[in-house]
Symmetry: C2
Subunit: 314 residues, 2 copies
């Protein structure tokens, strides 16, 4: 069979094959973006599963072998492992290759990885704003990145051609692309992603620890609001531990602001200040409308949820 | 045309015709639960809209007229208006009628309504744990109550037959029913519903007020977590102002617990205590699994969201 066009990259190496890595593998295959996809991950079990799923063309537990001759290397591991992975792949990297990552914190990833990247290799940190609460190679799907943003935080002196090539790759995966400073990225993500996850984890923890309301009651009546938070709070614990440890300053700042605002709201509740409450509750409505208009949220009530009752409920 | 069976109630009066009232109207019609549905609401615009939608059989701005001869009266108004509505309908209530409500706080509703309910009328406070972020008579739909719990908080001396009849009505609407003490209801709802809404309103407020991250950025990148909160934060402001004012004690207690837990989490982030973070982030995962198993949450990644990109996005 003759391929209709030369793929964008002769060889892509995927280091890490969880939700993000395996979604990349699937969309690369679907769109024909690579002549060869090599996959490497630390866990033998995960590597075997990736092979069973047929996600790539070659599989190895040795990341330096996976990146040999690769034109594009995508590191999709918890951000706390970035430095170690960079050290492992460094000896195998081809001159002229592009190395990128998908981590949710960029200042720390740059500090961890950049020292290991050899001269002549293009290191371009990246972050696709995509994911679900599921993890692992079975959780990935080819359309994960469609209609979502991928942000690059290139270092000074980055080759524009390499950046454009990486951007074209992500656009081929269905994403919009953006460029920003790593520090700004980390503050933006602290508010739009990290704080929401931390708050969600926290409220689910609070609800589980009550002595006067049983966990059974919390679960039974969760549909009245609580369940929305459990989705984010079901996200991968290793990934989110690492995010908290590696974007500490920005997260602590956003947490402080959140707590200030909550104290203000709490005071309004304590003193029965209905006008203050009504004012806040009114202006937040417009934000959702804007997100829907920006094509980043569904316009159906209740997220368009279709809950099917299980037989054991009644 | 001969009706196949006598309806459960000859006449049902719906006082308030927003999301809940209009959903009731629709399911009552679909299931043939009433011979006649009378609708009353304060706003002339809403009343006219209810009539245009054909939600009932008669329409009046005078609630005491709406309840005349009604066997079942369902008050679906913001909890802060409960007392006023009770005073208005009291003169029209038929002996033997059941009066119920749908309010999210029960102690306050009982305090407001009970004094006005005449002897011989069964007042049974109720709370269907159902809703979406939309409001108004157009937002209702007949399946809103399916697979959801309706909690009754009957007063001492409530007629068991009346309670059973009301329970049968809600089961006919598709709900499961439960009975609990009003104080306990208010504490359970404070954690499963009120706190989640307040936290959601608060975080959306915090994100809107940042000076270094623009509102445009918050909206553009909302899909990385933030957007989940905007759904609850788009709920009806009047309803939620009233909930905060009328379940103050339980809400303040849950807020205090939440803030304590958040301080603990914040300290773990500040001191880089990855084990504490990992521990919390792991145990919260199980809660979602239980909610899905209880048939109260969808088992699809990302709530099964289907976001359609709008042309202006690119």
């Amino acid at each position: 069979m003759i391929s209709p066009a030369k793929p964008m990259f002769d060889k892509i190496a995927l280091i890490g094959i969880g939700l993000i890595g395996s979604s990349l593998a699937r969309v690369i295959r679907r769109e024909g973006l690579a002549g060869h996809v090599s996959i490497s991950t630390r866990s033998q079990t995960t590597l075997r599963r990736a092979e069973e799923l047929g996600l790539g063309d070659s599989y190895t537990a040795d990341p330096s072998m996976a990146v040999a001759d690769a034109d594009l290397v995508i590191v999709s591991v918890p951000v706390g492992s970035s430095g170690e992975v960079a050290a492992e792949i460094a000896p195998g990297l081809k001159r002229g290759a592009i190395v990128t990552d998908v981590g949710s914190t960029k200042r720390s990833v740059i500090a961890q990885m950049a020292p290991y990247i050899p001269d002549g290799v293009h290191f371009i940190p990246g972050h696709p704003l995509a994911g679900t609460e599921k993890s692992g190679p079975d959780a990935g799907f080819a359309s994960l990145f469609e209609n979502r943003w991928c942000i690059f935080t290139p270092l000074p002196g980055t080759d524009p051609a390499a950046l454009e090539k990486l951007s074209a790759f992500w656009r081929a995966c269905g994403s919009y692309t953006d460029v920003m400073d790593a520090d700004h990225h980390d503050r933006v993500l602290a508010i739009v992603s990290h704080l929401p996850h931390i708050i969600a984890y926290n409220i689910v923890g609070t609800a589980s620890d009550l002595e006067e309301v049983s966990e059974g009651e919390v679960i039974k009546y969760a549909a009245s609001g609580f369940r929305d938070f459990t989705r984010l709070a079901a996200s991968d614990p290793t990934m989110w531990r690492d995010v908290c440890l590696h974007n500490k300053d920005a997260i602590l700042e956003m947490l402080a602001r959140f707590s200030e605002d909550l104290a203000y709201l709490q005071k309004a509740i304590r003193w029965g200040d209905g006008d203050k409450l009504f004012d806040l509750f009114t202006r937040t409505r417009a934000v959702r409308r804007s997100i829907i208009e920006a094509g980043q949220e569904v316009d159906a009530p209740d997220f368009g949820r279709q809950v099917v009752a299980h037989p054991q409920t009644q």
